[in-house]
């Protein structure tokens, strides 16, 4: 099986400070990978580098997605090729509603595939179906993007966008932070609903119980000081929950 995403010896700087130190990671279609690690290890950096965030510079290494060189593509090309990031703290955008944003986004995806724009009826049907899965109300879709929503509502709206755009690779950065128990269940259900043999996930979280019980990932990586120091199955989550990260800390580069 050829990997959907292949990261090799990736080194990344932000403002001249090295954050990722030769990180390698391979994710096959249909797999759910989880990355855990102490704060500042580089988890969010990895998520954003895969998306092409201009704040980071890749100094060496490669990222291949669907067999193509991802580093040659800009942010929106990567998104249209199937990469989606559910943000840790999504930015507020006053003056544009979530439903309008989705119309622009969906049509950008369709245009790239050579498809015509969705007509109004099909669009609203699709939006309604996806909204229902994440308990998003009509009123929430009409409000400006991420303005005045609680942390949990913002995360649900991120999941909703993921469902609308049907990416083949979903990155969920701190998917359960700022959420209460019910909201976490909705998000986990969303992941499980979207799970398919073609779609892969990279999930970053600090909530080991949630990951172990609700998501049941295929692979768990421990990221310390910009590198993956341990890779195992889901049982690693329980080990870390009981024993913490201390035994991994001396394995990092720094």
């Amino acid at each position: 099986m050829s990997a959907l995403l292949e990261v090799k010896n990736l080194c990344v700087n932000a403002e001249d400070k090295q954050i990722l130190n030769g990180l390698s990671l391979s994710i096959n279609p249909g797999e759910i990978h989880v990355i855990v690690g102490p704060n500042g290890a580089g988890k969010s950096t990895l998520s954003n580098v895969i998306c092409g965030d201009p704040r980071y510079q890749v100094t060496s290494g490669s990222i291949t997605f669907k067999g193509e060189d991802l580093l040659k593509q800009n942010v929106d090309e990567r998104a249209r090729n199937g990469i989606f990031l559910s943000f840790q703290s999504p930015v507020e955008i006053p003056g544009i509603s979530m439903s309008t944003l989705m119309k622009y986004a969906l049509n950008s995806h369709r245009k790239a595939k050579g498809l015509p724009e969705l007509d109004a009826v099909s669009f609203s049907k699709l939006i309604r179906e996806c909204a229902k899965k994440f308990e998003i109300t009509n009123e929430m879709l009409k409000r400006p993007v991420n303005v005045g929503f609680s942390g949990g509502e913002k995360k649900r709206l991120e999941s909703f966008q993921m469902a609308v755009l049907e990416p083949s690779f979903c990155i969920l950065d701190e998917m359960d932070s700022g959420m209460d128990v019910d909201a976490v269940k909705i998000a986990a259900n969303g992941v499980n609903l979207m799970r398919s043999p073609e779609r892969s996930f990279l999930i970053i979280s600090h909530n080991n119980d949630f990951l172990y019980e609700q998501i049941k990932p295929d692979v768990v990586h421990v990221l310390v000081s910009g590198n993956i120091v341990e890779t195992s199955d889901a049982s690693l989550l329980i080990d870390i929950k009981n024993n913490g990260f201390s035994r991994f800390l001396n394995k990092g580069m720094n």
Binding site: G52, P54, N74, D76, F87, I93, I96, L101, Y104
Partner: protein, 242 residues
């Protein structure tokens, strides 16, 4: 609520509620008087003209203005709150491109107790354009329980566009609440990145965010046709539809 669509130079509202829509005002000078206990909503578009708007709001009366200023020209607004509990909300959107030069001068005088004014001025300057905003709120010494707010926000879409803001508060009274602020900046990179991660091109993200910026003003228009035509004027001026 009555809709009047006409070009006129004098509006006097004696009673009740009214909505006046002036599409592309050609009048050099417009005077508005809102008599006690009445309320007026005034929408206007000014494109390429110099014009002056003088407003008097009397006791317990309310005046709400939403105006769009496109391209070259000057807009002089004098608002005088003449009676107790008079209220004025003034929202201005402006859009400039190419070699446009535009000046907005607003002068708000609180001549009575318990009067309130709220101003929101939002503009976008592109090309080599130059915008000047001068806004003054004057509160004479013997006035009580007066509130005046003025916020100016501008977006620069090119390195050679300029926006100059000169806000001024002249407060001679004690029992007042006043605020003013002005911010001039570029599009938010974090917002552009967010839109791009949803598959929207950078160029389209710029257009979406620019229109969204002025929509805070145009969204206040409760006549859909007019709101759409205002948004169209903005898009045409800033070449957002190309």
């Amino acid at each position: 609520m009555i809709e009047l669509v006409e070009k006129q130079s004098s509006i006097k509202l004696l009673e009740g509620e009214q909505r006046i829509i002036v599409e592309n005002s050609l009048a050099k000078s417009t005077s508005v008087e809102v008599m006690p206990n009445s309320s007026l909503v005034h929408y206007r578009l000014n494109k390429g003209n110099d014009n002056k708007l003088s407003v008097k709001v009397h006791e317990n009366a309310s005046y709400k203005l939403i105006t769009l200023q496109i391209g070259n020209g000057t807009l002089d607004i004098d608002v005088s709150l003449e009676g107790a509990k008079a209220y004025c909300q003034s929202d201005i959107a402006y859009a400039l491109n190419k070699e446009d030069k535009m000046t907005i001068v607003s002068n708000f005088v609180h001549n009575a107790n318990e009067t309130t004014s709220n101003q929101l001025i939002k503009g976008v300057a592109s090309g080599n354009s130059y915008a000047t905003f001068e806004g003054k709120i004057l509160i004479p010494y013997d006035k009580k329980k007066v509130e005046g707010n003025q916020q100016h926000r501008a977006l620069l879409l090119s390195k050679s566009a300029t926006v100059k803001a000169v806000p001024a508060l002249e407060i001679y009274a004690d029992d007042v609440k006043c605020s003013h602020g002005s911010a001039i900046g570029n599009l938010n990179q974090e917002q552009i990145y967010y839109l791009q991660t949803r598959g929207i091109s950078k160029e389209e993200a710029y257009k979406i965010l620019t229109s969204a910026f002025l929509r805070e003003v145009t969204d206040g228009i409760d006549a859909e046709d007019l709101r759409t035509s205002f948004e169209k004027e903005i898009a045409e001026c800033l070449l957002l539809n190309v």
